[in-house]
Point group: C2
Amino acid sequence: MELQPMDVDTTAASGPSERAKLLLASPNPSAPWQDLISSIRQTFLPRPKTKQPRPRHSVLFLQALFPILKWGRNYKATKFKNDLMAGLTLASLCIPQSIGYANLARLDPQYGLYTSVVPPLIYAVMGSSREIAIGPVAVVSLLLSAMISKIIDPSVDPAAYRRIVFTVTFFAGTFQALFGLFRLGFLIDFLSHAAIVGFMGGAAIVIGLQQLKGLLGINHFTSKTDVVSVLEAVVKALQDQWYPLNFVLGCSFLIFILMTRFIGRRNKKFFWLPAMAPLFSVILSTLIVYLTKADKHGVKIVKHFKGGLNPISVHQLNFGGPYVGEAAKIGLICALIALTEAIAVGRSFASIKGYHLDGNKEMVAMGFMNVIGSLTSCYTATGSFSRTAVNFSAGCETVVSNIVMSITVLISLLLFTRLLYYTPLAILASIILSALPGLIDVNEAYKIWKVDKLDFLICLGAFFGVLFGSVEIGLLVAVAISFAKIVVNSIKPSTEVLGKLPGTDHIFCNVVQYPMALQISGILIVRINSGTLCFANANFIRQRILKWVEDEINDDMEESTKTGSGLHVLVLDMTNVTNIDTSGIHALEELHKQLITQGIQLAVANPRWQVINKMKASKLIEKIGAALIFLSVADAVNASLLLKMDNLNSC
Amino acid sequence: MELQPMDVDTTAASGPSERAKLLLASPNPSAPWQDLISSIRQTFLPRPKTKQPRPRHSVLFLQALFPILKWGRNYKATKFKNDLMAGLTLASLCIPQSIGYANLARLDPQYGLYTSVVPPLIYAVMGSSREIAIGPVAVVSLLLSAMISKIIDPSVDPAAYRRIVFTVTFFAGTFQALFGLFRLGFLIDFLSHAAIVGFMGGAAIVIGLQQLKGLLGINHFTSKTDVVSVLEAVVKALQDQWYPLNFVLGCSFLIFILMTRFIGRRNKKFFWLPAMAPLFSVILSTLIVYLTKADKHGVKIVKHFKGGLNPISVHQLNFGGPYVGEAAKIGLICALIALTEAIAVGRSFASIKGYHLDGNKEMVAMGFMNVIGSLTSCYTATGSFSRTAVNFSAGCETVVSNIVMSITVLISLLLFTRLLYYTPLAILASIILSALPGLIDVNEAYKIWKVDKLDFLICLGAFFGVLFGSVEIGLLVAVAISFAKIVVNSIKPSTEVLGKLPGTDHIFCNVVQYPMALQISGILIVRINSGTLCFANANFIRQRILKWVEDEINDDMEESTKTGSGLHVLVLDMTNVTNIDTSGIHALEELHKQLITQGIQLAVANPRWQVINKMKASKLIEKIGAALIFLSVADAVNASLLLKMDNLNSC
């Protein structure tokens, strides 16, 4: 069946030439600066969705900034019961993980707990995700320690190292808030999905290797993160001095944690088992060490653990030192990686529950939470994938579970930190190790391989870059390959010959993809598969089209010397070319000239808005002839058939 | 009128669903590495155009490398007469220009003449342009002196400076030949037309300012090329010491040359007048200075002028010194600029005479001519615009006019150089100045402004970059803006809402461009104006589409609460999206999910070959439903109308 003509004036564009006239009469599209201005206006003066009286406007603004004002009014006791349970489960996983990640970030353990207190509270009033669990995460902890250790060695001057960590966190938060305010959310898209899969996989392996220090009880370890340096350090330590007791302790608890996870997965009722296992392991192992005095036999323990409320760290921020530029750079990288992880986590759970998450608003919330965090002794926090999953399974209803978790962590900080003096480092290592498999997504990598080989190359680049170079090199490789892909795509676009699909009168398809499509004798239809005809590809496309013409003429000659008809018209389907520049216009002009010398007419089908406008401005239309510009390939072919008949008649 | 159905099986794809089946059954497109391999194969093993027996093949190869073998056999005496006249005219312009450009390149005058002897001869046997005039040109001379002077000051150690000039020329030639052999001709396209217009204009002004030294008879001049430094140096010299006689002499002859040009343009018969004027000026002014002994009164003269054949300079090439890396870099820039100018010149005259110039072959010819030039005391030569125009006007038939010119220059080198001892430098300056207006193309800049504002920005960037920075900065700015344009275009592509053009049953157009196009109630058709749906724009496009949907729903609500129909189907026209990556697939998946939660069906129209293939590989087709993929927008709309009716009936 075909479209029924609707009840409107159908005479307006019933013929090809009337349609071509419409095309040629299209108004001027907006100029680049108009686009720019309207884009800026949209950013800073967003149109209110529904008309509201003035006073309501400011309420809406406050509600947008603090979503808690909106959902808080409908918050009920039944919801709180669920949130309380989820929050307590979360806290029991969060406490050991925070201590472990602080260790990975080469900070004292309490800083991990601090980071699980303030940022979740700020996020709770500003964020809009209901499931996300805020706190320190493995990858950001690794990033911080790997990059800041290059500036100052934390084993030499831990206070100076800490000052830079807070400064970096402050910068990261500022960048995040600015990205959100200026609606630069698209910046995190530059880390393509494939790059993130590769980067996370590489980072997980690097983090895992770092845990060998704790697991083997090694005293002197490298501060480099690449595989080669770490393995060298491990081999050297194994020859030199290590403590097998650490390994035994760590491995047995690792096996225990993994077993609970296996049970939890098999039977959804026991979801709390893998969430509780790390805390249980910490308590049990601490007791064992305390009772057996294993720390005298080489088992490394946490030792320093300062309890109490988050101390203020405003005076520790350092904006004048020699490292401020470096700190800003690291802050930018951390900001991007943290946002990427948080927004990926937030979005995937939001889409499960069927609500939408505004990336720019999330960025503002993350930014403020890190800025305030940096003033209260926290390092960079973000949304943790593993804890968010636990929060979700535990049945959280709103972000109140984060508040419950934060208060629970705060209470432990006030009351129980002294008890963690004997906690063995090997247990922290095994807790981190147990969280890593979630970061290595082999299935996704396989899917990427199947769908897009170049994306897989980006994935591999990021993976091996992190593994054998450093985290920055991995990111750099991935971003560089990604952009090279865009540029290469623009430089050598494909062109294809079209034929009419049998049984239709207006559908023209690639003759290779649809072998049944028929080419019309005497007419060559070529489509340019490029979004832009510009300096970088105009010459290439022109030559490629001339090659198609040459091939067609040669084929014609070989095939049929009986009818001397040959190629009369080249129909150039410009449907895909949404923009053109002066080089592109020149190339079309040249193409037209060269075809004319070969006795071939150039007909242009479906030049788009910007293209027809620039063809008019450059007077190219007059050179080609307005009668040879058409709104569709079908119109161009019909007109060409007429033209050919005229030619034959006049012969 | 519409297409007549042709005499073929028309039942094959007469219905939308049959067509959709064809689409879904398309074979796999070639993988990226297959494209790469076939591209490499085409480069190194080009398919012979017609089947030739083996022995002819090698003859063809030789003819391709040395086109003289082909046209030489049909060369006739009548042609030679024309070439002889053109060659002599050319030589009379070439001799003074070469001396002037050598001065600009900060070399002794004979090196300019050397460069007009060997390269034209080599080009004559290897090149395929018939009009191009080979020799030193202003812009390349400026490039060489500006960049090499930074390494070694020619006024301190002219021999070392010369050695680097030859080494740079050798590198430039090698790069050019390699570009041609590896078919990297597209590299010169990276300098877009707009960039070249801006660059040439800036370079012309810089060259003109450099001539103030000769014109004012200044002793101490700056080696920097930016406007500010040059004007400072001039002001300082004017306060300090300068010789007005130089200025009087230079200006009077400049006026004379410009007047002859004016006459030549007015009356085509006198085309030889502007071509002869420079040589006449040199002879006359030299005589004047010799007779009046003006050199004793401050008129600067050439003085050193070594005659004789080109000396061999193989031993002067320097591949081991500390500057070899720098020389290679300068060689690369010179190679690109020289090729850009030569190929632009060659192509524009070839297109006047209606023959085609193979860029890659030209590059090989240019490369060999510069490599051999560097071994025989020549600096980088290329095709000169002004002299090619003279050659063309003088009626040259073949490249033999270059041979005539070369021999004439050689004879002057052997016999007349001693006569040029008293040639005033001011005359050389005025000859260079008189050639500059041809480089400043205000009309073209205005045309660029009219056609493409962003291209104009590139043009301005190159212009001011050269003027206030340096030649490299100008080029860098232009290339950077050009590539930024490509990337920015890919990041924020536009999307547009389509409507059916009245009077047609299959043409759907942008409703803003064609205000008469009608939207169909309950169906929203959105087209993505991007050649690729990739990590950099997938999220942006997804959000933009959701915005369109939201606006449509709001409009519907405001407009008609009478019929509760609302939006049922979103038809996504993917015609323009020729490629997609995993992020793009993810975005489509998300879009589908989000639309489903709003009760809207997603129909995909015309996914292209790579896209349908990746949608199959990622199982996205199954998620959307194969029944909702269509070959054209019309098919999708028809099917949606049916679907809507079904829905209404079932209500």
